[in-house]
């Protein structure tokens, strides 16, 4: 899935037999649908990998390609065209879903570049995230409060002071989360505009920011759940 296209091997179109570069969804000669191309998600939209995306333009391109590729357009086509329409549209949808979301997009780009990042915004549980050093003390206290709150809940008691403390902690950590998002955005610009050595440094920082963000968002979710239950 995360294969970077390194060579543009010409392949022959199944329909007109003329060779074409394999990062295309349609044959440039006879316009027939082609099997899923080997490129990355950016190339599906004819883009080079970058992080500051023009979302309205991305959506317009998504709609334009959907009209051409969707299985509804191939309900009475040849069996192989049906298969490719299905596979191509799945690729288009997967690509759009990933790129339109800022965090998924950042993670995807980093993985594409070979970074090891924890499972995150695709819904998989992450049990291994380490507590950021600057937050150790606060997180320790927060976990104590959360445990107290759960205990109180189980006993059917209300503790307004604890509730207020947790709400305050939630606001603080939500603020930290927003700060991370802000930092990420400025890194995007640096990456998009940077040269190769600059990009490597940005990538390292983005991996760290994503780890921190994942940790914080789990924390906020825990607090929200405990407060809400």
């Amino acid at each position: 899935m995360l294969k970077v296209l390194d060579t543009a091997v010409p392949v022959a179109c199944w329909s007109c037999s003329i060779g074409h570069n394999d990062v295309t969804l349609f044959c440039p000669h006879c316009s027939k649908i082609q099997p899923p191309p080997g490129g990355d998600y950016f190339s599906v939209f004819g883009l080079k990998p970058h992080l500051q995306l023009d979302l309205p333009a991305l959506e317009a391109e998504f709609h334009r390609l959907s009209r051409k590729l969707h299985p509804d357009r191939f309900a009475r086509a040849l069996d192989n065209e049906k298969q490719w329409s299905l596979a191509d549209t799945a690729l288009l949808n997967d690509a759009y879903r990933t790129l339109k979301d800022p965090l998924r997009r950042t993670e995807y780009l980093l993985k594409l570049l070979g970074a090891e990042i924890g499972p995150g915004h695709d819904g998989k549980e992450d049990k291994t995230a380490r507590t950021p050093a600057d937050l150790l003390e606060e997180v320790f206290e927060l976990n104590m409060q959360l445990e107290e709150m759960r205990m109180a809940r189980r006993m059917g008691e209300e503790d307004p002071a604890l509730q207020a403390a947790l709400s305050e902690a939630k606001a603080k950590f939500t603020g930290l989360l927003e700060a991370v998002d802000w930092d990420l955005r400025s890194e995007w610009k640096l990456w998009d505009e940077g040269d190769e050595p600059a990009r490597l440094a940005v990538q390292k920082r983005m991996v760290a920011l994503l780890d921190r963000r994942r940790y914080l968002s789990n924390l906020v979710r825990d607090v929200t759940e405990t407060l809400g239950s």
Binding site: S66, P71, A75, L86, T89, A90, L91, N93, D94
Partner: protein, 650 residues
Amino acid sequence: MAELNSTGRVVGIDLGTTNSLVAYMEGNAPVVIPGVDGSNLVPSVVALDPIPEGGGRPTVTVGNSARKSLIQTPERVIYSVKRLMGRGLEEIQSELKMFPFRLADDVEAGEVPRIQLGELKFTPPEISAYILRQLKRNAERFFGAPVTQAVITVPAYFNDAQRQATKDAGRMAGLEVLRLVNEPTAAALAYGLDRAKEGTIAVYDFGGGTFDISILKLRDGIFEVQSTNGDTHLGGDDIDNLLLAIALDEIHAEHGVDLRGHPGAVQALRRAAIEAKIALSSEQAAHFDIELPNGDRYQREIPRGVFELLIEPILERTAGPCKRALADAGLTPEQIDEVVLVGGSTRIPAVRQLVDDLFHLAARGKKPHTELNPDEVVALGAAVQADILAGASKSTEEMLLLDVTPLSLGIEALGGAVARIIQRNSTIPASATEHFTTGVDGQTNVAIHVVQGERELAADCRSLARFDLKGIPPMSAGLPRIEVKFLIDADGILKVTAREQRSGQAAKIEVKPTYGLTDEQVESMILDSFDHAEEDFAKRLLIEARNEAETILAAVERAPLSPAWQQLTQDEKAAIAAASGHLAALKQTEDAPAIRAATLVLDQATRRFAELMMEAAVSTAIRGKTMSDAGDELDEAVTAPHAMAPAEFK
């Protein structure tokens, strides 16, 4: 006739819990096709007639005629079968507590449960197939031509097994199901057809047995579903069952009669409960007045206020899904521009009030959309989607539906947790690729368990399938790298493929659905495949004969416009008139051979006319054109000879 398979009409079918409909696109507008009784709604009721005298297989009836059997022979009737589609044994057992039918005695765990109907047993898809076959017949009667392709609607919140069961039912009924469309989305298509709408709409679909909420964004003819939620165990049936249970308890307490053992009486009471429910949508009170087996009368007045209090817990269950759908779409109620109401249960004033509260409509000076009949709107939308798929119509060529999967797809990880691989509300088709390896040296199989649902533990989710990756080349533990691709197709159904990457071998997989029929089972359940083959053939002959008759009659009608007509003698004209009058009268009968004979007679009578027209065409050709060019230039009246060429009886 063979070419009809690729160019024939595609119909849209709403296979409902309570009623089913079939519709098609007539020009620019979808139209519901009525049944023989003139009614647009075919009750989703299937009955088994008594065994014919002298033995043999009893006939199955569907719709209004089947509904009549509900009170006389309740043990031979089944309804609301949609609630049983794609469900496992335990779920069906709990569902059946509310209904008078029972499971066959010999049902085994792991197989699709069968329902006892009289002396026969049927799986839920087979029962649905009978309903679909009735709709197919209604459409064929209407068109006078075979119908083999359809779009069928399903609740948006249907899972993989329920969708597959619906597709199986279509196949058993002799229909190629070109697409399963979600009901609320279909309704949005029906509403979006006549006006180029832009904006965000919510479709609140509260039907007989299921509840769905879908939020869509409309832009440039693209209907993009943002999120969907629902409850496949919630509908008007629940209201009926509640009223029924109260009445049964009261009758027991006040008159000392326990009707629960009398299926016929329970059905009569159920019908009274449904009538009361319907009346309460327009009246302030409804009355029960039922004669009991002991001669007593059960009389009861239900004021609307009491009814609304009783059903409040049921209606309240629709609020949670609406809020979750809004949250998943990242929208507030104020950001919903329009709300569309679908399903018979949305006629209840208390339901409309709830919708108004959920989406803050009155406060914003808005009203929910109810312009299209809530019983018909899903079928109309299915017809629109059928037209999109047929791909030959101007009115729908700009329209495209982008739907989502309602439930997350995951695989069971070590320790029973779920690793989600495709999130709910992902636009479909959607795919995910996962890599697996072995844990033991030389291991050649890897077992994978696929689940659907939002819970953290696999045991709490719906088990979709278990499969083995087989034929992995023996290697050290952890060395094989098996790539498994999960693909949810445009019908919302999962497909799995696998490949071992180091050896390049395609690992063999057998996906065994946790619930559902195998291909072979579906094949063996195809209706009419064997015992009704003769009847089907006769029917097809009749349809073909009528089509031919219609073609030649239409040509005869246009004939007087042609110059060649003037060259015929009065006797020849009279002979054509007589033969066409005879054929027109016969065409309505069921007698295919007689229709064919009369078609031949008319063909003979028009032979000289056809020759005269052919001469006119040839003389055009003499002026330096080929026959085919000349044919292209001929206007409609002159194309008549083609239609009047001897009918080919294959």
